[in-house]
Amino acid sequence: MTATASTDTAVRDTGAGKRRQGPTFLMALPAVLFFGFFALIPLGGVLVISFMEWNILGTPSWVGLDNWDTVINDRPFTWRALTLTLLFVVGSYLFQAPIALMLGVFMAGQQRYRAFLSVLYFLPLLFSSVAVGLTFQSLFSPYYGMSAALPFDWLPNDWLTNSDIVMYVMIFVVGWCFIPFHALLYQAGVRQIPADMYEAATIDGAGRIRQFFSITLPQLRYTIITSSTLMLVGSLTYFDLIFVLTGGQPANAVRILPLDMYITGFSANNLGHASVIAVILVAIGLTMSLALNKLSGSSKMESDKAGA
């Protein structure tokens, strides 16, 4: 035993060995099994169904590439849904990222009332999305909601049905729910930045704005990458709130791909087409995460702690 251990150490020390380090593969087994069972196998199933015609009740029958041909070439709504999805993803990111960053930096500080305000900011994180959806539905109600209660005539009262604004309303409500989570990530990130960096900067005469851009932001780069990936992929596959709030109407303004997939599959009972949409969604999601990983160079990520 002793001999083996010392050999191990020797190999590691020279850095020449190719032997695995760290915990054995066995410890990853539960996670791998879980992932395989609940993600990979169903994914394969969806791929198979995308080549079948199936109305849920009957027996699926093989139709080859017909579903793919229809969804991509003969179904104008697919492209509409893709455009809406893009709008939703970009809009959500532009809305959530800056606010989450600023809130996170604020919550990591020492200001007065900070703790109290932080609790308020975190509240949305605790609510179930269905409850949030139903509450906002009441708020946006034309005759009994906030537009009727507030004395501002310029407020629209068809928040959820006016196709010009409903997408922005969705971006706002979804952002309202998810900003606290990302702010939490940023808060943790900021807390890890060593205080002596700020002390040194202060001695050098850097103001708070300068400190933010020269210290906080660069030090947060990995947090920004993590949070951005979660935001982009998360909004790409987002479903709950939009479904509860709008049920997918108006279709030309808010039916993003995940919603389109659900409605095609479970309301229109066309699982073949829904599976094609699902596979497209998976492909876009994977491409996006991989691209983000590559672009950000996260494979080269290093510790950025002071002294490391």
Binding site: V46, L57, F239, I263
Partner: protein
């Protein structure tokens, strides 16, 4: 991926996960089960099932779901062999599919004396190819025109008997701020199906839609359907309440607008009578709450006695349930359904069970007026049209709703609608 098992309203969202997981949730397990809806007269059905459980010392697991969530989840459950023992449907296209796929069992000779007690016209809805596959479980649900007498008095209006009366009413209310002729939950879309069905029927008779149900080629391209769609778009500009597209029925906003006097009329199903009594008792007890039938179209071809609605909701028994579970369900149907206590409770709610000679039991019921009205409406109807969304094939229902939503939002023309539906 989190996997919720709760079946409550709204969590339908989570069902999206099952597109990946490919397993339907719920159903199965020990003991019989039944899924019902929320609101309206459904709490009475739940209590009835509970009384049956106690009386027969059996277990029936009851889940109450919101309307839209139910329609989406029941299909997945039935398709995956995980259906509740008692499958509720509105008959029509969904029941036909269940029968074609052998998902429900025939009930011939297993329903006790039910067949002799239920109205023949209602009973027939549960019969497919000469066999009974579903039996009615609750009340006849005609769609009627509710009104607020206070609004009518204030603006000197009478109940509309003809379509030109309706046009006069709209003209009168045109100049009035904050009051419109018809409340409509356009955001939920299905209340608009009722308008489409009534207008089409008054204009062209029941044959126009019958051709659609029978799958005739191009049947949607019918002058009566197009007239009805055009009329709805005109009503959208003037007639329906201002923001009708943003009003939803889930939380009974359409009924509230009538109760609050923001609208003079509301076209809705008979279950709204119970809703108004429960949710807006002040209005219900004020003496201003009234109900009447859909007006006559002067030169329309339709029989003015025709009504639209649901003959009832129906129970079927799942072919995937175990023998014991099926037995519990059969006992419930043959021995317990429409027992005296439950019928009395229905009558008190203003729900009209489709039973022969039921009128003998109205006297003294709290809702006597409404029951008498609904009973005469149903009994005198030359044709009782099943709600369109239920009558058409379930795979067309989504396209139908989407196409009608575009009509309501003014983003498509009646001809677009007809073309879309014909292409289904």
């Amino acid at each position: 991926m989190s996997r919720h098992r709760t079946m409550r309203a709204g969590t339908a969202g989570v069902a999206a996960a099952s597109l990946f997981a490919l397993t339907a949730c719920g159903g199965g397990g020990d003991g019989a089960s039944a899924w019902i809806l929320t609101g309206g007269g459904w709490p009475a059905i739940e209590e009835d099932l509970e009384r049956f459980e106690e009386a027969h010392d059996v277990e029936i697991d009851v889940e109450a779901l919101e309307n839209d969530a139910y329609k989406q989840q029941i299909r997945t459950a039935v398709g995956s062999g995980d259906a509740p023992t008692l499958i509720m449907s509105w008959t029509g296209g969904a029941l036909l599919e269940y029968v074609e796929e052998d998902r429900v069992v025939p009930l011939d000779g297993e329903t006790g004396d039910l067949e002799s007690r239920v109205h023949e016209s209602v009973w027939q809805n549960g019969v497919v190819d000469g066999s009974v596959y579903a039996v009615p479980l609750n009340d006849v649900q005609p769609v009627v025109l509710y009104y607020n007498q206070e609004v009518l008095d204030e603006h000197g209006l009478d109940l509309p008997e003809t379509w030109s009366d309706v046009e006069d009413i709209i003209d009168t209310l045109d100049g009035v701020d904050d009051v419109d002729a018809f409340s409509l939950a356009g955001g939920s879309i299905w209340p608009a199906f009722m308008w489409l069905a009534y207008l089409t029927d008054r204009h062209g008779g029941e044959g126009a839609f019958q051709a659609v149900v029978e799958g005739e080629d191009g049947a949607w391209d019918n002058e009566s359907i197009i007239w009805a769609l055009e009329t709805m778009q005109e009503l959208g500009e003037n007639g329906f309440i201002g923001n009708y597209n943003a009003v939803t029925a889930d939380q009974n906003e359409d009924a509230q607008l009538l109760a609050d006097g923001r609208a003079a009329f509301l076209l809705q199903g008979s279950w709204v009578y119970a809703t108004i009594n429960q949710d807006f008792p002040e209005f219900a007890d004020s003496g201003n709450f009234g109900f009447t039938e859909f007006p006559v179209l002067e030169d329309g071809a339709g029989d003015p006695s025709n009504i639209v609605g649901n003959p009832a909701n129906f129970w079927s028994i799942s072919a995937d349930a175990s023998e014991e579970e099926q037995e519990v369900a059969r006992t419930y149907l043959s021995e317990h359904l429409y027992n005296d206590e439950t019928v009395d409770q229905m009558l008190d709610n203003g729900s009209l069970p489709p039973l022969n000679d039921i009128e003998d039991r109205f006297a003294g019921a709290e809702a006597e007026d409404f029951l008498t009205f609904a009973n005469e409406l149903a009994a005198n109807a030359n044709h009782f049209q099943l709600s369109w969304d239920q009558a058409i094939s379930p795979s067309e229902e989504q396209a139908f709703g989407d196409a009608l939503a575009e009509i309501l939002q003014g983003s498509s023309t009646p001809q677009d609608f007809v073309d879309t539906m014909n292409a289904q």
